[in-house]
Subunit: 445 residues, 2 copies
Amino acid sequence: MEGFNLELSEQPESLEQILVDCRDTLKYGVRTGHPRFFNQLSSGLDIIGLAGEWLTSTANTNMFTYEIAPVFVLMEQLTLKKMREMIGWPDGEGDGLFSPGGAISNMYSVMIARYKYFPEVKTKGMSAAPRLVLFTSEHSHYSIKKAGAALGFGTENVILLSTDERYGILIPADLEAKIIDAKQKGYVPLFVNATAGSTVYGAFDPINEIADICEKYNLWLHVDGAWGGGLLMSRKHRHKLSGVERANSVTWNPHKMMGVPLQCSAILVREKGIMAGCNSMCAGYLFQPDKQYDVTYDTGDKAIQCGRHVDIFKFWLMWKAKGTIGFEQHIDKCLDLSQYLYNKIKNREGYEMVFDGVPQHTNVCFWYIPPSLRGMPDGDERREKLHRVAPKIKAMMMESGTTMVGYQPQGNKVNFFRMVVSNPAATQSDIDFLIDEIERMGHDL
Amino acid sequence: MEGFNLELSEQPESLEQILVDCRDTLKYGVRTGHPRFFNQLSSGLDIIGLAGEWLTSTANTNMFTYEIAPVFVLMEQLTLKKMREMIGWPDGEGDGLFSPGGAISNMYSVMIARYKYFPEVKTKGMSAAPRLVLFTSEHSHYSIKKAGAALGFGTENVILLSTDERYGILIPADLEAKIIDAKQKGYVPLFVNATAGSTVYGAFDPINEIADICEKYNLWLHVDGAWGGGLLMSRKHRHKLSGVERANSVTWNPHKMMGVPLQCSAILVREKGIMAGCNSMCAGYLFQPDKQYDVTYDTGDKAIQCGRHVDIFKFWLMWKAKGTIGFEQHIDKCLDLSQYLYNKIKNREGYEMVFDGVPQHTNVCFWYIPPSLRGMPDGDERREKLHRVAPKIKAMMMESGTTMVGYQPQGNKVNFFRMVVSNPAATQSDIDFLIDEIERMGHDL
């Protein structure tokens, strides 16, 4: 705040000052495109994607109607179809939209599931339905719970499922037990979220086993592949989403694993036409039925938004420029790099892995144990001290500005580092650098 | 679709082809920045705003935490405060966020109102509350109804209020009558939306009179200023939002009247801290309480999104470059232009105005009556023929590509043109051109 005048005033500033402001904004910002930025699932800066975003800004249009975004609407339809083909739905048929992010895409899935089973809720509200229950793993993204709160289910009706110790994946038997339990209480199970690439552990829930249970009890199956969906692009890794073609809906964020600039998230739905049924309000000023073109290209009414930013072009352009094969190489490379990290630290002195299994995604979760804690017996004192290590190292990273990686506690586990790689510009030497930095900064703690 | 290969394939395309794709995208697109594009509330292309968006794309970061978007988070806080000051809340105190558009901002207002009066809905769902009712004018934006459907109220519990003939503004007596009626039925009135600048007519609901009723019955007052909020920047026109300081929440889209590139919409709330109460889920992997900085700068948990695009910078930069005074000039100019249009056609042969009053915003709604219909007595035949005029002229406009303006029916009124001006690059000669085009294209219908 010091030395950078953020205040807005009555009078215009000079162009020189505006350029200084731009420079300062970049100077004090965080370089998320740097290969040593490992702090979020979204990182990197693809130059074609950036060019696509610049063109999009220049076109400055709106996705709600074909008449003002004809090219972008066609690109969106074609790209969504291609994504549905990769999911494995017959002929890529179905529905979908790009939304402002994974949380909103997940919210769509819950809304659409509700509309499928209880369409009268649209007009009459939640009181027209029995007590509906949603299921998701304790390691799933918090947006499922947020959707439960926002859409009127209530967070208490979002049942968290247990996960296994080895990988942090949902335990199907626990799902079935909790479905039976809910039914016995007189509640109505509606929706199951299977996570393909959990936020912290990078775990892939066993979709086929979950789909069996959903079929048995007639529940909507959503796959939250916001983080892991990109693996569908890789022949080597797509088996981790095996069964995804049995889902009713899928969230897939190209702005995460595939390096598309923010924002770029897709909600994909197997049943054609259901999104319009769920969301349409038929506003006369936008969706006139007497237009001179096929008004099914006016996609706005199936969104919960009215105006909708053009998120498709940068992604489409990157796909053109890289080909499917280019995304595959990108993904395989990031997964190789995290494997390199895992191999490097799993038996290294001063490291403990947070879960037993080999990482399924690029997430590598670990504790760094400073020398002062290495001989200490497990117990409250060690736990408390270890809990403070990652925040301290992170603070030093931020002050020195050399690298950045996330940490968090999880359940009864004290603060640990979550390393993720989604920037294909990262190399083994960047991984080596991270480890050196952690050890340098953490050595005397 | 012909002559433009949109298909995505396995293999990469050459850089030359990518450049051709970019050129084709612009070639077949619609020039929303052109001064003769009058089709939507968002138009124009501000060059500083564009530069701001380009810098934003280059920074490619995410608003959820201060640690990765320190400058943008501070800019957002400061700009929201400035907007709250312009609304007239004491010291600009309160809460707010930039959201992906006016529909989502309006959805926030309904969620927050529900949380204020029935906080237990967050955990227990809508069944923990009585039957809640929302009120909004028949001319208000459809996003209020959409929010009612999405959030579990049901569209039947979104009560549409009558409007006057002269301006299309909400009739306060009808609001009060419908509140009383709802209470008599045992329902619980919760929320009233007053529109500041309706989508079609540009009408400003009488906020002070509505606020009196909201205070009397203890209801949440939201002002949807998505379209009209910008008038707060104008000393000449801000009186149209008189009473806005009495609202509990306000939607204001700088991407409409103020010419900021899409997307840029703010939800502003008078009560400080309530958004976090409403939406927070305290995800440990993002919102660690033991960070080395003041974590109240981590705004992500008060959003319904997780990742959130940086919408602030382009707006902040435009404000710096134009000053408040520059926005005022922009707005006054657009309103002057629409006054020019209104004066030009109100008594011109072949035109009928859709409502009696002088336009309050830049919306000018009118029928063009081709010579063949001018002598015809009012009745079904004339109505049916007139209904087809605007779509035919619009189709010709789109085919010739010379200009573009919206049309729609409304209630029992057949298709009419809705002219809007938000691009300060438009001039009187562009207005003259539009009228000439309509007459040239419509003359022989």
